[in-house]
Subunit: 148 residues, 4 copies
């Protein structure tokens, strides 16, 4: 399986700077989401629009972040978003956020999304659009690696 | 017509503080909305839930704000929200935001909302729930004052 | 005086979409700020960094916005930011926000900033960096037009 | 050691609702911070104000969240914030967020903060205010439990 990865550039906004003169840590959750949206444009089929059309959404179930170095005013964040295959009805990404000016790794993180059907119930099987997306990118015929 | 007015208290959040060590000016738009929501609980019938039930929403059309003094960390904002009657299919409020610790007037503002029907079209007549709300609070049988 | 104007492109973020499926109205205040920051990069000398260096900040004093048409998921906002000359120690901009896909004017607005010295006092004279910036762009030797 | 725990109530804001009609997942990071601030008022000595006075800040290093059930418009979040003792120059909290109306556990999470000195360097020893705070609440004379 080739790695499915997207890179996007997000300039820091003034409103994202906190009283310690750095990007507020909660803002990185927005950056992760910006990364997912950019990923979805890059590998079409699992974007928010696809979810909306089917009525099956994928809310965040789990979220992790680590912060190594600050982003500040006038910085641009480079967001690397990678799809991580895990078996079952779940959607996993990892993120690395770099400061553009000196390529410092500022933060990394991961998210897990689960699927909710039109009645709001948790789905134990993959929704059609996700299975089709995995087929298109030849993801599901891979063996699950032992450490996953 | 008695004045329809609500007062609510909103503590400043750390994430609302900007790099100048004061509440970021855009946050006051959230405070105005907090004021409207509190007003809607005080004078039921035109809350977001009422709009959602009827499918007729009232998005913001116009917005004004003036800033006189800063709010900072550990401050609490006191939000005074007043309904302003204007004839026609529109919903107007004014806001005054005070710093609780010393009662300083920090900001004031106003908003105008118009009504959008279920097809997304601008309504030129008041929706039923708004007319009923005005009737309940004896608003519409008032003469419009000259300076409005 | 030639018009000082900047145009920048800001993609809508998922986190900016409200429960009416459109960009939340308060988010446009962030777009105005994005416009000012982009303007500041275009016409250097009055950016936030310049203010920070001198210790003289220019907080928002007045703010106005009008909303004509919604921005939604996957839209890109085109922000036109124009400097508006007004005599005295104040900094004024107007904004027009267009939807990129069909060039619809979605919103317009204006802001007024005043200057606060290092003691936090309102300044009645222009700070040096602002006067120099006006000189560089040949702004201050203009007569103030009657309608200003 | 008695458990150091704070409970606070945060009403959901309209601006926090996303296009899936629920509180946007990134907003919970704000709720965690609201919880920390409330905890700091409850057990004084490690609030943001204390940090600001000493010049030694405690930015977030690690962050985890799990989402079990949504919060929606008109809900109030009950935030349980607990201090978790871990040896060394670090500050750890866990959070549980309940929906007030039916006491459903909506989310839980944890954060780790590290200390940064006035030169911006990571501190390997506890800052004075943190040691004093731990002494006041009789935390540091406890044996570290095996599973920590």
């Amino acid at each position: 399986m080739k790695e499915l990865k997207d890179i996007c550039y997000i300039p820091v906004k003034f409103s994202e700077i906190d009283s310690m003169q750095r990007v507020w840590h909660g803002t990185y959750i927005t950056y992760f989401e910006d990364g997912r949206e950019s990923f979805g444009r890059h590998y079409p089929g699992i974007s928010y629009a696809d979810m909306q059309q089917s009525g099956i959404y994928a809310p965040i179930y789990g979220l992790q972040a680590r912060y190594y170095a600050p982003l500040a005013m006038n910085d641009t964040a480079i967001i690397h978003t990678s799809y991580i295959y895990k078996p079952g009805a779940r959607l996993d990404y990892t993120y690395k956020i770099y400061r553009e000016s000196d390529n410092t790794l500022c933060a990394e993180g991961s998210t897990t999304q689960l699927f909710i059907d039109t009645q709001g119930e948790l789905m134990t099987d993959k929704p059609g659009y996700y299975q089709q997306w995995q087929d298109k990118y030849q993801i599901t015929n891979l063996k699950n690696k032992p450490n996953e």
